[in-house]
Symmetry: D2
Subunit: 366 residues, 4 copies
C-alpha cells in the first residue's frame, strides 16, 4: 500500500513527485478562525529551499506556496487547506542511464520491486523534494499553535556532521540562523564548512544528527498506548527521507544509565512541578510532562554521489554507477526545517486529540 | 486521547491494568483458515513471563492465555480474536504512599496530569504488564506468517546492558535462549550476571539495548510515505514501555558515514539482487529490500528503585520516595520477546497491506 | 478484511460469537473522571435481553456485563474499558444440518464465500447476539453524555411492524416501555401482538421500522464532508444486523417534496434560532442544527424460520431447509435498544471530535 | 472536526470550495501499473458537468481535470494521484445579502454555528460543486476495476422525480443516456420534462430518488462488522449533498415483508450459487453474495429557490429570503454520476481490503 497521510485529527496528505508539474498537500482538521496567508508559510519554505548555499543542491526552486482552499477573508474556515508548490526547475535531460539503474543506498530498487514501475525523474516520489510539503503544513500548524499555545517554541539545529559533533558548552541559539548548517556552535560551523567542502570536492557526501526541541509544551499531550507522543514523533521523524534513527531525551544513551542516574527528580515550583534534569526528553509514559520535548534523529549520507559504486540495473546486469545531477552533499542540513515542521504537526495534532478526550482539563498538583 | 489500537489491516487493540482482574487484546483483520490454539501462543508468553530468574520481577504470574473468539475447530475464522490473560498475583497491599506520590522517571505524574485520575495499583495502565498482550498478539502474527512466508524468521536478543556491550565476534544464536538475558555472547552473559546482581543489591537498576532481526522478509513491504516500514517499526518499538530510541540498520552511526561507505553495493545473485553490506537494515525508502530487517531500541532503567529519590505528591508536597515492590532491575530483559512480537505484528500488517494494493506482484529484476 | 471497530475518538471494538464462551467490547477514548459501574450499564442490556416475552427468542441469557478495565474507584480513567458478557445458554446440540447448509436470506453463504470457514453455531459472528456489546458500549456513552450534555435525551421506538404502522396522532412516549414492542401507539401495540402471534404460529417472521430521536443535541456536531453526522449515523445503523435502509428526517419522502415545502423556515427564539419544521431531521450539511436528530431504519424479517425454503449446501447440493432453533419472529423489536446505543456512541464521538477541532466554541447568532 | 477523506485502502481526500481558484482530490492507495490519463476521467466529469440542459444550473464550467501526480508514462505508479479542476466561472457579484443570511434548508447556518466563519461564495465547501472531485476519483476507481474485474458494470439512473416514479415495466437501459434525467423509462422522461419545467418556472425545486446497480461484483467483499459493504455504501451515499436516505435491495420495503417472502432462495447454477430473487440487494451480513449490488438514495429538493422563505441572518434578525443565482431545480439529476462514482470507489476499496486479508481466495461451494 501507499499511505500518504499522517496525523489523527490534524491530518496532512502529501502528493507529488520531484519532476512532476507540482507538489503539495492537503491539511485537514485545522481549527477555524486562525489568521493565515501565504506570507505566514513562505519563510519556513525559504529555510528549506534548495540552492541557498554551495552546501545544498544547486537546483533552483523558488518554492512559492499557494493556498488553494480552506482560507477565506484571511482566516482558516475549518475546511481542508490545499497548499501547492509548482516545480519550476525541471531540467530537461536524458534519464536513459538512471531510468534503468538502481543507485546503491537509494529507494530506486525497492520502488521498482514493490510497484513494478517508478517515476525515475529525480527520484520521483522518493525524492526529498516532498519535504517541502511538510514544511508548508508545519507552517499551518505553527500558526494555529501560536494562537492556542503562544508560549510554545520549536527550535531545530544540527548537532553532528559526520564524525564532528558540536561542543554543547558553546551552544548559542543566536548563531543557528547565521550559518549554512543550522549549527548552534559557531566554531563547529566553521569546521564543518571546511569538512563538507572537502567531501563535496572528493565526490562524497556525509550524514548528520539533527536535534529538535519544543519548549512551552503543555503537560498531558499524548495518546497512550499506541498514539504515545514519543511513538508519534518517532514515526514522524523516521518518515523523513534518509532518517535511520530517532532518539527521545537521552535516547540510546539511556541504556547506559542506572535508575538512580536516570530519575529526573521533581521539586515543587511556583507554577507547578519542576524537574531537576530532563533525561526523559519531556515525555513520560508517552505523555508530555511540561518539560522541553527533545528529539534527535540521524540522517544518512546522500546516496547520489559522483563516486562510482557497484550496482545492477533492471535487466539484472551488473554495472558501476556514478550519479550525476545536483545533489546535497549533506542532506541533513535541509532536514532541520523539516524536523521542526514534523514537530509542529505532531504537537498540534496531540493538542487537538487531548482537547477532544479531556476537554483540556488537567489533573491538579498542589 | 487514549489510543489503544495499532496496525492498519492486522490490528491489535489492548486493554487492562496491572492489578485489574485481567488484561488482553483483540486481534482483528487476521486471515482465516490459519491453525491456531492456545498452545501456539503460550511458549511466547512463557518467554516474557515474570519470575523466571532472580533478574526479573518476583511477581508470580502464570500468564495463561485464553482464546475467547475468532477461532473455530482449530482455525482462525477471519473474525476478531479475543485473547485474555487473568491477573492472579495481585498481592493485597496498602497503596497509601504510592497512591499520592509520583515516582521520578515514571508515568505516574503525566497520567495524573492528563486524566486527573489514575489506577495507581502497580502502575495501572502504564505498567509493562500490558506487554503480555502484545506478546500474545505477536504469537498470532507468527502463526499467520508461518503459513504465508514460511522462510521468515524473527530473532531478538540483548546487545548491551548498561555500559557493557556484547562482542559481535562471539555472536552465537544458539546461546540466546540459554541465559537469563537473551544474550548472544556467552562471555557477556556471565559478566552481565555479576553486573546486574551488584546493581540489584545496591538498590539500583540499569538500561539495555535490544536488537531484533527478521530474515526472509519479502522485498516490497512498506507503505510510503507515512506508513513506511521503518516509520511503523519506529512507532511500534517506541510504544514499548521505557523505550527511548529506535535505530534501523546502522542507526545513529549512519550519521558518521560518508556516502561512499554507506552505499550497500548490489550484485546479481542466483535468486535476484544481493547486497554486499546492510547499512540500511533491509529498508530503503521505507520499503523492504529483501535483506534482513534490523531494528535496535534502547530501554531506560527501571524507575521503580529502592534508592530514595526526591519527588512530590499530588498535594504538591516535596518528599523523598523509595519504591518498594517486585520490580525488574533491568526491564530490558523482558523487552526482548516484546520487541520480537512487535516485529511480527508490523511485518504481517505490511504483508497484508502490500497484498491489498499490489496483489503481491513484484517488479522483476533480470 | 474484517473491521470490528467503529468511531473516530470514542472507539468501540467488539468481539465474540453467538456460542463462544463470551462476547464483549473495548471502549477506547472515553473521557476520564466519569462515574461508571456495571449498574449503569445493566438496565440497557436488560432491555435488549432475549426471552423477555413470547415475541422474542426463548434463549435464556442473563446478559450480565462485567467491567474488566478502564474504571478505578468508580470512575473512568481514560484508558480502555473492557466489557465482557458471558454466554451461558449455549445449548449443546447437533449442528450437522445447518453446519453445511446456507439459510436463504442469511449471511451463512457469504461468510463461507469470504472466509472459507465459519463458526456455524448460532450464526457465529454474524449473529445478532453481538449487538449486546453495542448496547453495553452505548451505556458507557450515555454515562459520559449525561455529564457533558445533561439535557440530551435519546428515545427509540418501533413505528411499523410489517405492513402495520403506528398512528402518529396517538403517539405517547409513556407507553413505549409498557408493551413488548417499544411501540408508542397503544392501539397499534395491541394489534401487533395479535399480528405477530399469527405470524409466529404460521412459522413466519416479519420486518419492522425503528425510529430513534435525540433531543438536546448541541448545534455544530459533524465532521464534513466524509464524517458528516448523517453519514456516520447511516453507517452505524446500517451495520446493525438485518438493517436494509436508513433515513434521516423525512428520509425517502424528501424526494417527493418541493423546495418550498422542504425549507425548514427559521425564526429567532429566546435562546437562538428556532425552526418551524424539521424535514431535515436536525442535520444540515452533515452538521447538527440544534433541532432533534431523527433517524429511522428498516429491519428485514428474521431469515431463520420454520417454513421450508429452497437452498444449497456447501457441497453444492440443492436442499429444502427448515431452520429450527429459538429465533425472534420480529428481530426488529430488540433492535430498538441497539439503535439507541448506536445513536449514543455516534453523538458522543462527534462531541469529542468537535471539541478537538473547535474547542467547543460556537459561531454566535444575534 | 472536518474529515475529508473516505476509504480504507483506496482513499480519496477532497478539497476546495465552490468559488475558490480550484477544487480537487488526492487518490491514495491506488494499485500501480494501471493505464490512466485525463482522457479516461473526462467523460465521467462531462456527465456531471453543469449547464448541459435547461434542467441544470446555468453556471458554465468546463470541469477539465488535470492529473498532477501519481501517473508516469501513462500508468499509475502506486503513489498519490492528485486531480485538480480549476473553477473558471466564478461570476463576480455582491454577496452582501447571502453573506449574512441563512438559507432555510441549507448548511449555511450549521457551518456558521460550527466554525464561526464560512466561505459564503456559492456555498463554499458545502456546495455540490465538490462532487466533481468524487466523480474524478470514481474515474480512477473504474480504470482499476476494469483491469481487476473486467466483468463489473456500474449503472446509475433516476427512478423517481418528486411524486412521479418510473414504470419498471418500461425499464430500458439504452435510454438512460438519451434524456436529461438519466431516466430509464422513456415515457417518464417526457413527463418529467414538463413537470420540472413547471416547477422551475414557478420558482420551485423538487427531490428525486437515484438507483445505482453494480453487476459482476465478486462474492466476498465487505469487512464486517463495522466496515460492512452496505455500511460503507450507506456512509458514502449519505455523504453526497442533499441525500436524506439510503436503501440496500428492498430497503424500507423490507420492513413490510415476511420471512417467507424475503428469503432469496438459492439454487445451484453452472457457475456456482444462483439466487431466485434479490431482496437483499446483493449483500448478506455485510458481504457481497455475487448478485447485483443495488443501492437507492433520496435527494431532497434544492434549498436555493426564488420563492421567499422566512429565515434569520447572523445578527439574529428575522428576514424573508429569496436565493438568486444559477441553481439546479432538481439537484438529484447531477447526483446520478456522483452515486456511480461513490459505488466505484467503495467497491474497489473493498476489493483491495479483501485481497489484503484473504488473498482473494474464496470458500468453495460444490
Amino acid at each position: 500500500m501507499s499511505l500518504n497521510t499522517f496525523g489523527h485529527l490534524f491530518r496532512v496528505t502529501t502528493w507529488g513527485e520531484s519532476h512532476g508539474p507540482a507538489i503539495g498537500c492537503t491539511v485537514d482538521g485545522c481549527p477555524s478562525g486562525v489568521q493565515l496567508s501565504e506570507a505566514d508559510l513562505q519563510p519556513w519554505l525559504d529555510q528549506r529551499k534548495p540552492g541557498t548555499s554551495k552546501f545544498t543542491t544547486q537546483r533552483k526552486e523558488p518554492d512559492e506556496v499557494r493556498i488553494l482552499s480552506g482560507v477565506f477573508d484571511g482566516v482558516t474556515t475549518g475546511t481542508p487547506i490545499q497548499l501547492m508548490i509548482e516545480n519550476t526547475d525541471q531540467r530537461s535531460k536524458d534519464y536513459g542511464d538512471i531510468a534503468q539503474a538502481f543507485r546503491p543506498g537509494h529507494a530506486d530498487i525497492t520502488y521498482h520491486q514493490k510497484y513494478g514501475v517508478r517515476d525515475y525523474r529525480g527520484g520521483g516520489r522518493s525524492s526529498a523534494r516532498e519535504t517541502a510539503s511538510r514544511v508548508a503544513a508545519g507552517g499551518v500548524a505553527r500558526a494555529v499553535l501560536a494562537q492556542l499555545v503562544p508560549e510554545l517554541r520549536i527550535s531545530g539545529y544540527m548537532v553532528q556532521m559526520g564524525v564532528q559533533g558540536i561542543d554543547r558548552a558553546r551552544f548559542d541559539a543566536a548563531v543557528i540562523g547565521g550559518n549554512p548548517f543550522f549549527c548552534p556552535d559557531p566554531v563547529a560551523a566553521e569546521a564543518w564548512a571546511v569538512y563538507l567542502d572537502e567531501l563535496r570536492l572528493s565526490h562524497n557526501s556525509v550524514g548528520a544528527v539533527i536535534e529538535v526541541v519544543a519548549t512551552g509544551v503543555p503537560a498531558g499531550l499524548g495518546a497512550p498506548l499506541y498514539g504515545k507522543l514519543d511513538s508519534d514523533l518517532a514515526s514522524a521523524m523516521m518518515s523523513i527521507n534518509a532518517v535511520k534513527a530517532v532518539e527521545i531525551g537521552d535516547g540510546m544513551a539511556a541504556a547506559t544509565l542506572t535508575g538512580v542516574e536516570n530519575a529526573d527528580e521533581i521539586r515543587m515550583g511556583a507554577n507547578g512541578p519542576e524537574f531537576l534534569s530532563n533525561h526523559a526528553g519531556g515525555i513520560l509514559g508517552g505523555i508530555s510532562s511540561g518539560q522541553p520535548v527533545v528529539v534527535r534523529f540521524a540522517v544518512k549520507p546522500t546516496s547520489s554521489i559522483l563516486t562510482p559504486r557497484a550496482t545492477i540495473n533492471a535487466r539484472g546486469e551488473e554495472i558501476d554507477l556514478i550519479t550525476k545531477g545536483r545533489h546535497d552533499p549533506c542532506v541533513g542540513i535541509r532536514a532541520v526545517p523539516v524536523g521542526e515542521a514534523m514537530m509542529a504537526c505532531v504537537l498540534l495534532d496531540h493538542l487537538l486529540l487531548d482537547r477532544g478526550q479531556t476537554g483540556g482539563v488537567r489533573g491538579r498538583i498542589g
